[in-house]
Every structure is written in structure tokens, then in C-alpha cells.
């Protein structure tokens, strides 16, 4: 019925109580407890996300009409640059590993903390410093960077805007990401509880493991690349500058050698969340555990080999293009395996359509659209036509927002009650979900159409024939934001005034986090558990579930 025998934690204080030498705010920002650090990350992440959403809202407002709507072109360039930098480096890349990975990884493997708790806190300090530096760059003289989040040469060396602080910020954030990955790899190798073999680990942990390797190996490449732009701007060294013999295409190669694997840092943990939710809410063991586990590794591996598909139109050699196009098709396979296995798990399952599952299902739908459009882009002839158009913008928002973003929302609805011992209003959560879902598709689907018809991306102005698509899209952004506001206010109100939960297993999961106190005690476990079974071993007939339900009383919270 769970991965370990009953775990006793009675009488021990929850991690939310202050027992250390610090009180109040200082007990949080100096804490090395992985759960508190996870929450520190979560709050900072969602704060930066809000700023990013604001910038997105402004972009769409500007694009409501051709020509100037609310801002001048220079401002527009800076706004979409910052939107990208904030969303990518401050929300989607750190996102799930930093918040939910930190909170739940040790618990899921039966450990009391990560391998290097102080390093963990230091990672968060780096993250916040990077974030603040990026925001401060908006206010410094020179104006915020206007290069796009990709900082392409030669413009990034020539522009007078505040590229330097933005680059430094990205460097700090990269370092934070590296240290988190390093911490997780060591934790997973060294701190699993007795009996927790590799193939008894929850799939979320497998996702974090694969992600951690990409974080460690790929991030330094962008570290050095951005550092080189800094050096070029400061000392005129001339590594990439074509006037000094440099090669801008080489810059793009180096940039994308990280930035493509980065998108797998973004998506693999979100897939891990979905792999957790699907079995619990269909009361069935996951279909093809090993395939899903290995597909995470496969995505990490293949994802590192496809970067130049971002460069098909810049002047690569034919050979290079053929090689990267082929590899791009191959990388879709491990992702597809996951989608098939999730679907097979749901089939003939006992479906509980609670908010976590709604978001997980939305993930599958939206990520599939995004992923398939990605395969389209991998075809050379097609890509020549649609590269640098709104089609690409639609694609990556479907995978990054409809994928990872929705993964974050799913994780919030799944795990927040366990983290804080408070239940949100389920009805309101479902309403928010549907508004968000409708808004999302209204906002992003037209981008495929107008991109196909030739609307370029990052353009401030556009021809009148695209107006209708932009208008639909902008209205979609308003609907989406309404959904987000309802969703977040519901969750926050739930935290403050929601029904208190003390039962351990809110949703009927079998992984270790559902066998410990709600909220967890400071050390997670009093004694390290011994693991005896796999993470999703539900019985095919229902009696245990019935029994568990009456045993725990109303385990679904209010509003159902």
C-alpha cells in the first residue's frame, strides 16, 4: 500500500515551526532545510513569473494594433528581451527542480536532506542575486538590453544598452543551476534509503536525475559564451566580432549547445511530475516504468545533439543541416514514448478528475501540439519557410508554457496541500483551469497560422493582413491572465484559510511523501525507512482504495 512500512513521526515538530536559533524571516533565509529552500525558491520563482507575465501582457497589448499602440520600438525590443530572459532563466529553467525537486527529492528517496545542504542555500542566494541584477538592469542608464534573450553577435557587442548586467545575471543563474544539478546527482547516488534500488525510485526522481546531468554538463558552455561577450564588450578582445576575425555563426553554435539542452532541463522535470500524477489519479501502476525512466535519460542524451536546428537559416553547411535535422527527428521518440505510456496508464483506470489530473492531461495535450510542431520545424524545407516567424513563437510557448508551465501548476495543485497542510477550493481550481486552458489556446494557436502566413517574430510593426490574428491572440492573453489570477488567488487563499489537513495521504499516492506527516516534520523521517516495493503498485481491484477512504475519512478535501 506504500513503498515502506508505516512511518511514525508523532510528536515531532513540523518543518514550518521554528526550532532553530533564528526566528521569523531569518529562520527562512538562513535555513539549510531543503523544504524551506524549496519554498524560498517557489516564492521567488512565482514572483519573477508574475513580472514575466506582466511583460508578456504588455507585448500582446502593443501587438493589438499595427504600428504604435502603447510603446515605442526601442521599448518593445527591451520588453521582449526581458520577457524572455526572466521567463527562461528565472522561471522555466530553475522552476520544477528548484522548488519541487528541492522539497520532495530527499523525501521520495527516504533521505533527511540533500547531499550538500549549505550549497543548496547558496544556490538560492545566487538565484536571487541573478534575478535582482536582471531587474536592476532595467533601471540603469543605458536602458535594458534589447538584443533578444539570445544575445546574438554582433549586435550584442555593439548595442549601448545594459547588456553587461544582464549577462552577469545570466551567469549567476547558470551557476545556481549547476550547483543544484551537482547536489541532486550526488543525493540520488548516495542517499537513497535501504531497499530503494534505482528501479524503485519514483519517476519524478529519474526526471530530476537526467535533468541534473544536463545542468552540470551543458550550463558551463553558455557560461563561457556569455563571459566571452562580456570580455569582448569590456576589453575589445575580438573572439566573435566579425570585424576582428570572429565568426558570428560560431557564437550561435556555442550559444545553442547549451540553450537547446536547456529546454530539456525545462521539460523533463515537468514530465516527471506528470508521471507522478497519472498513476495516482487513475489508480493504476504506471505503464512501462522502465521505458519512462530510460526515456528521460534518452531525452537528455539526444537533446544534447540537436542544437543547430535553431540555425538552419543562418548559413550552415548542407552536411551540418542534414545531420541536425535527422537527430531532431530522433529526439521526438523518447518524448513520444512517455506520451504513449501515460495514455496507456489512463486506459481503463479509475479516473479521479481532480485539479492535478486536469493539469496533467492539459500537459499531455499541449505538449503534444508543441512537440509535433517542433518535429515540423525539424524538417529543413519547412523550417526555411517558418523560421523566425510567429510559428516558432507558438511552438515554444506550447512546449514551455503549455508544457513546463502547466507542469508547475499541476505540481502546485498536487503538492501544496502536503507542503502546507491546507487544502484549496477544488471547484474554483477547476474553473480557473478551464479559463486558463481556453485562454492559452486562444492566445497561442493563432501564432501558428499567422507564422505560416509569414508574420515575423520580434517585430514591433506588421502588415494589416495579420491584424485579426494578433487581436484574437491578445484577447486570448487577457483570458489566460484571468485564469491565472483566479488560480493563484485560489491557491493563496487556500494556504491562508483553506481547510486544515492532517491526514498523510491526501490523494492516495504510494510514494514516500504520502506516508509522512502533513506538513512534514523537520527531518522528514524519524528513522530512515526500509523500502520494500515499487512506487506505483496499485492493486487492480478496488477494495484497498475503498478501505483507505473510509479509514482516512474525507480524504479529498472540500468542494468536491
Amino acid at each position: 500500500m506504500s513503498q515502506a512500512a508505516v512511518i511514525h513521526t508523532n510528536g515531532h515538530p513540523s518543518y514550518l515551526d521554528n526550532t532553530g536559533k533564528y526566528k521569523g524571516l531569518r529562520s527562512w533565509i538562513f535555513s539549510t532545510d531543503h523544504k524551506r529552500i524549496g519554498i524560498l525558491y517557489l516564492t521567488s520563482l512565482l514572483s519573477f513569473f508574475s513580472v514575466g507575465v506582466l511583460f508578456g501582457f504588455l507585448i500582446r497589448l502593443e501587438l493589438l494594433t499595427p504600428g504604435k499602440t502603447i510603446m515605442d520600438p526601442q521599448t518593445y525590443n527591451s520588453i521582449f528581451t526581458l520577457h524572455g530572459v526572466i521567463m527562461i532563466f528565472l522561471f522555466v529553467i530553475p522552476g520544477i527542480p528548484a522548488a519541487f525537486g528541492n522539497f520532495f527529492l530527499p523525501i521520495m528517496i527516504g533521505a533527511k536532506d540533500v547531499a550538500f545542504p549549505r550549497l543548496n542555500l547558496f544556490s538560492w542566494y545566487l538565484y536571487v542575486s541573478g534575478g535582482l541584477l536582471a531587474l536592476i538592469s532595467i533601471l540603469l542608464p543605458g536602458g535594458p538590453a534589447d538584443t533578444g534573450w539570445t544575445f546574438y553577435i554582433p549586435y550584442s557587442v555593439r548595442t549601448g544598452t545594459n547588456v553587461l548586467p544582464t549577462l552577469f545575471a545570466a551567469f549567476l543563474l547558470g551557476f545556481s543551476s549547476i550547483l543544484t544539478g551537482l547536489n541532486f546527482i550526488t543525493t540520488i547516488h548516495r542517499m537513497r534509503a535501504p531497499g530503494m534500488g534505482w528501479f524503485k525510485m519514483p519517476l519524478f526522481v529519474w526526471g530530476l536525475y537526467a535533468t541534473a546531468w544536463i545542468q552540470v554538463l551543458a550550463t558551463p558552455i553558455i557560461g563561457i559564451t556569455l563571459l566571452l561577450i562580456v570580455i569582448e564588450r569590456l576589453f575589445g578582445v575580438g573572439i566573435f566580432d566579425p570585424a576582428l576575425g570572429g565568426d558570428p555563426i560560431l557564437y550561435q553554435h556555442l550559444f545553442w549547445i547549451y540553450s537547446h539542452p536547456a529546454v530539456y532541463i525545462m521539460i523533463v522535470p515537468a514530465m516527471g511530475v506528470v508521471s507522478e500524477i497519472i498513476p495516482v489519479f487513475s489508480r493504476r501502476t504506471i505503464f512501462g516504468y522502465k521505458f519512462i525512466a530510460f526515456s528521460s535519460i534518452g531525452i537528455a542524451l539526444f537533446g544534447s545533439l540537436v542544437w543547430a536546428h535553431h540555425m538552419f537559416a543562418v548559413g550552415m553547411s548542407d552536411t551540418g543541416q542534414f545531420v541536425f535535422s535527422l537527430l531532431t527527428f530522433l529526439v521526438a521518440i523518447p518524448s513520444a514514448i512517455k506520451v504513449f505510456n501515460w495514455t496507456a496508464t489512463l486506459y481503463k483506470g479509475s479516473i479521479q478528475l481532480d485539479p492535478p489530473l486536469l493539469y496533467a492531461l492539459a500537459f499531455i495535450f499541449l505538449f503534444s501540439i508543441g512537440g509535433l510542431t517542433g518535429v515540423m520545424q525539424g524538417a529543413l524545407a519547412v523550417d526555411i519557410h517558418i523560421t523566425d516567424t510567429a510559428f516558432i513563437v507558438g511552438h515554444f510557448h506550447y512546449v514551455m508554457f503549455g508544457g513546463t508551465g502547466v507542469g508547475v501548476f499541476a505540481a502546485l495543485h498536487y503538492w501544496l496541500p502536503k507542503m502546507f497542510g491546507r487544502m484549496y477550493n477544488i471547484k474554483r481550481a477547476k474553473v480557473a483551469f478551464w479559463i486558463f486552458f481556453v485562454g492559452f489556446n486562444t492566445l497561442y494557436f493563432p501564432m501558428f497560422v499567422m507564422g505560416w502566413l509569414g508574420m515575423p517574430r520580434r517585430y514591433y510593426d506588421y502588415l494589416p493582413e495579420y491584424t485579426i490574428y494578433h487581436q484574437i491572440s491578445t484577447v486570448g492573453s487577457w483570458i489566460l491572465i484571468t485564469g491565472l489570477i483566479i488560480m493563484f488567488s485560489n491557491l493563496i487563499i487556500g494556504l491562508k484559510r483553506g481547510k486544515k489537513i492532517t491526514e498523510k495521504n491526501i490523494w492516495g499516492g504510494e510514494t514516500l511523501e504520502w506516508q509522512i506527516e502533513t506538513p512534514p516534520i523537520h527531518e522528514n523521517f524519524v528513522d530512515i525507512p526500509v523500502i520494500s516495493s515499487g512506487p506505483y503498485e496499485y492493486k487492480q481491484n478496488e477494495p484497498e482504495y475503498e478501505e483507505a477512504e473510509t479509514e482516512n475519512g474525507s480524504k479529498r478535501g472540500e468542494g468536491r
Partner: protein
């Protein structure tokens, strides 16, 4: 039903349980190795750049490299290799509880690092006095490939030198720990970690040396 924290049975063939709940030397070394990979890839990115530019500018690189002093480069290589020796020996010494020997070797190590950096200072000064530095008129008048060569030279050897400095500071801290018996023959994983860092700095130079000094 649940295990006590302090009993530590082996759980699998490849994993040794931490014998003390608050100390796991293998985890410490693993963490340091992972960090070394990031350093390796940081320099790896620059080696990628070097390779492509060299491939596209063979003649220019060949000409530019003639400005470099092979003798100093070779001496510096020997210095770093010997410092790796003293590093490894200092760990062997502390394993055998030879505290004074270990400290001496560590200090010699730091001294070698200092000599390396002093040599580098003379090298760079010489080049700068010849007008071969970024944005100089002489450099800008040269072939594009040569400009790139010197750009790479300064950045790569400069970044490497910075890492030598960091390594020296790290080892000095370890020397302090050894003196204060924080590092002992029973607990020397910190020294090992510092050693790993130093050896990586050496390995990077092992590749930098032929690529910049020996392509004439």
C-alpha cells in the same frame, strides 16, 4: 521494522553506505568531480572555439604562434606537472599521518603556482610591450586570424591563470586546516578535493601548452 541510522549494511554492490550519518567522503569527492566537469566544459567551450578558428585560419595561427616563447611555455609545463606531484604526495603523506611532510609539500605546491604566475606575468608583459594586446593598433593591423589567435591566447591563458590563483588560495586554506588538525590522517577528504581541483588545472594546461606554443 525501520533501520537505525548508525547501522550501515551495504545495499548494493556498487554503493557503500555512509558509515557515519553526518559524513560521507564518497559524496564529497563525487560533488567535487561533478564540479570539475563544469570547469572542464567551461574550458572545453573555448577549445571548441580554438579548434574551429584554427581550422579556418591555419596559416595565421602558425604565424602568430611564433611570437610565443616555447621555452617559458615548456618550463611552466614542467612546473605545473611537478606541482601535481607535490599535491599527490601531500595527500599520501597525510594518509600516513606525516603531518609536517604534508604541510611542507602543500606549501611547495603553492610556491610552484606562484612561479607559474610570475612566468606568465613576464610573458604577457613582453607581448604587451611589443604592442600585441587587444585593441592595440599593431594587433588590429595584423591578419584577422592572428587577431583571433591572440584574443584566444589572452582569454584562455588568462582564465587558466585565474584558476591557478584560485587553486593556490584553496590549497593555502587546506594548509591552514592541516596545521589546525581539521585535516588529519583520518579525515582528509577536503585535501583530496583541493587536490582534484589542482590536477584539473594541470590537465587544462597540458592541452593549452601544445595548442598555443607548439604549432610553429
Amino acid at each position: 521494522m525501520s533501520l537505525q541510522e548508525h547501522a550501515a549494511p551495504l545495499v548494493s554492490g556498487t554503493q557503500e553506505q555512509a558509515v557515519h550519518p553526518h559524513r560521507d567522503d564518497i559524496a564529497s569527492r563525487m560533488g567535487m568531480w561533478l564540479f570539475l566537469f563544469t570547469e572542464l566544459l567551461l574550458f572545453g567551450g573555448m577549445f571548441f572555439l580554438y579548434s574551429v578558428y584554427r581550422f579556418e585560419n591555419k596559416e595565421a595561427f602558425h604565424n602568430a604562434a611564433r611570437e610565443l616563447d616555447t621555452l617559458i611555455g615548456t618550463i611552466n609545463t614542467a612546473i605545473l606537472l611537478t606541482s601535481s606531484l607535490t599535491m599527490a604526495l601531500s595527500i599520501a603523506a597525510i594518509q600516513r599521518n606525516k603531518k609536517v611532510l604534508s604541510i611542507t609539500l602543500q606549501l611547495i605546491n603553492v610556491a610552484f603556482g606562484l612561479v607559474f604566475l610570475i612566468n606568465k606575468y613576464f610573458e604577457w608583459s613582453h607581448k604587451i610591450s611589443l604592442g600585441l594586446y587587444p585593441k592595440s593598433d599593431i594587433l588590429l593591423g595584423m591578419d584577422k586570424g592572428e587577431i583571433v589567435f591572440f584574443g584566444l591566447y589572452y582569454v584562455m591563458t588568462g582564465l587558466h591563470g585565474l584558476h591557478v590563483l584560485i587553486g593556490m588560495v584553496l590549497i593555502s586554506v587546506m594548509t591552514n586546516f592541516t596545521i589546525k588538525n581539521i585535516i588529519t590522517h583520518e579525515n582528509y577528504v577536503k585535501l583530496e578535493a583541493a587536490g582534484l581541483y589542482w590536477h584539473l588545472v594541470d590537465i587544462i594546461w597540458i592541452f593549452l601548452f601544445p595548442l598555443f606554443y607548439l604549432i610553429t
